[in-house]
């Protein structure tokens, strides 16, 4: 177990391929903010739904490349800092590698399974393969069917947030579990921030995922570390913050002021 600043300093270095995952639920905001505070730049940020967290990290200048599949503010609209980076190159140009959700989900699973690529039925008739050279096809050796293939995602570091760790460093994720298990197992190093350290896990939900301690590089006690997203069983999603993000982030100066006041 490490402090958050220690875990980020030890495992995240400039130029890394870093995935901070969590599908609406359990988005590791505290860890992302620590990366911003440590001014770690030149990252390839990987995430299915960049969400407000990557909007903040892109606007803060942490990323020069983004691998993603849906870059919006869910139920609200756009991500202003992501758009400004793609449309105007601010604060600097952002190279994008764009996929579909199915492709990224299968690519994380392939990474966890130690395969070089994912194979699935997808991208049929879409223009995405024309703009992303990492979307290719393979022919099934048994049926001859043409299938889509994308490289496995193998992050240098995956960071996720979870409800609990026990004293041995095992981690419990409950509720909507997203792609976190695959993202953690696909990475060279997995950092898990948690709401609570417990002696032993009590009864948990049907969808729960347990990550054994030996699959994790560092556990960090960071209560509230997923806010303004939510942690099932601990606190709800701050929908008002999501709804108000546009007003903060659409202007570069108000975004910088917000970052200065709340993160740096």
């Amino acid at each position: 177990m490490l402090r958050l600043d220690e875990a980020i300093a030890r495992f995240v270095t400039p130029g890394n391929r870093v995935a901070l995952e969590g599908f609406t639920h359990l988005i590791p905001f505290a860890a992302g903010h620590e990366i911003i505070r440590q001014r770690i730049a030149g990252l390839t940020l990987i995430r299915m739904t960049p969400d407000l967290l990557y909007d903040q990290m892109i606007g803060a200048g942490c990323a020069n490349r983004l691998v993603f599949s849906w870059g919006g503010n869910p139920g609200v609209g756009a991500l202003p800092r992501f758009r400004d980076a793609v449309e105007h190159g601010w604060p600097h140009p952002l190279e994008i590698e764009e996929h579909s959700h199915a492709a990224m989900a299968h690519a994380y699973a392939a990474g966890a399974a130690g395969l070089p690529c994912a194979i699935f039925r997808g991208y049929l008739g879409s223009d995405l393969p024309r703009v992303n050279p990492n979307i290719r096809t393979v022919t099934c050796p048994f049926t001859g069917e043409t299938l889509a293939s994308v490289p496995a995602i193998r992050p240098d570091v995956t960071i996720i947030h979870a409800q609990q760790a026990d004293r041995d460093g095992n981690v419990l994720i409950d509720g909507i579990v997203g792609v976190q298990k695959e993202a953690a197992l696909a990475a060279s190093h997995a950092i898990v921030t948690v709401e609570e350290i417990v002696d032993r896990f009590q009864a948990y939900g049907r969808s729960a995922v347990i990550l054994p301690s030996w699959t994790i590089a560092a556990v960090v006690h960071a209560p509230g570390g997923a806010r303004p997203s939510y942690a099932h069983g601990y606190y709800g999603r701050d929908n008002a913050f999501y709804a108000g993000w546009d007003a903060i982030a659409k202007d570069r100066d108000t975004f910088r002021a917000w970052l200065q006041e709340h993160v740096q």
Binding site: L4, G71, F120, I176, G224, R227
Partner: protein
């Protein structure tokens, strides 16, 4: 709008889309208009309708509409929650989902959708959120219903980018690509309902919402619009449909207006 029940064009659109769903459907639901239509159907004529969201929630019965695709409400009211790789692998790609509901920034006459960029991909004038689940929903679900507000900016002759396949640029591409699923079968807008011509696969108007003229629909459509040989009037919302939809939206507004008061924490532990 005529008749005893005054309703907005958006309400008419949501009600019309809800009616397309049946008790036997298994439906892959997107956030926004599809989610409102699907839950309205579940709360009115199709109580057994099975809703699946890409966050992994299977047979979910939310009491309020989720703001995001992964809200806790979806998990709390689900039969089961599975991982995201599983939902796209076993459930969508596995061919277990009959209906997919999609929308986008642009649609063409063959139901192809753009949710990626306006303008050139490398230098877009508007960078949209992107495809998300749509490229595989479009080909993996048994059939597709599209729901979109009807404007000339959105109903275009030619898409800037094909994010998800409808019937293809000429209406014949699905078969050429070996796709067995039906593709877009219904297009519901705030002006009318459209279905594809069985031969050409081009969408044509099959019914106009109450008070809407053919001229209005033509003006708001960027392609040479065709009307079916028989064009009816969409039945206006019943009081049950309208009350149920408004109750759902009022509950949703109350739930989402309530902030937990949290600002992002500094997280130094």
């Amino acid at each position: 709008m005529t008749g005893a029940l005054a309703c907005t064009a958006a309400e008419m659109m949501t009600v019309a889309a809800a009616r397309a769903l049946t008790d036997d459907d298994v439906c892959f639901v997107g956030i926004g208009l599809p989610s409102a239509a699907c839950n309205l159907a579940r709360l009115t004529h199709a109580p057994r309708l099975r809703l699946i969201y890409e966050s992994g929630t299977v047979e979910t019965r939310p009491d309020v509409l989720p703001l995001s695709i992964g809200d806790g409400e979806l998990h709390d009211t689900a039969l089961t929650t599975v991982s995201v790789p599983e939902i796209f692998g076993y459930w969508l790609q596995g061919g277990r989902i009959g209906v997919g509901f999609l929308g986008g920034a642009q649609v063409d006459r063959f139901g192809n959708l753009n949710s990626t960029v306006i303008g050139p991909y490398g230098s877009p004038s508007v960078r949209l959120p992107g495809g998300g689940g749509a490229p595989e929903i479009a080909t993996g679900c048994g059939r597709i219903y599209i729901i979109m507000p009807h404007t000339r900016r959105a109903f275009v002759e030619r898409l800037d980018f094909v994010t998800s396949l409808g019937h293809g640029p000429t209406g014949r591409e699905r078969r050429a690509l070996g796709i067995a699923t039906e593709g877009p079968a219904l297009l519901v807008t705030d002006l009318c309902m459209m279905k594809p011509d069985p031969d050409t696969k081009a969408f044509e108007v099959v019914s106009l919402h109450p008070g809407v003229t053919r001229e209005t629909v033509r003006e708001q459509t960027g392609w040479a619009l065709r009307f079916a040989s028989q064009v009816g009037e969409t039945p206006p919302p019943t009081s049950v449909e309208l009350d149920t939809l408004r109750d759902l939206q009022a509950r949703t507004a109350r739930a989402h207006g309530a902030s937990t008061g949290a600002v992002p924490v500094r997280g130094r532990a």
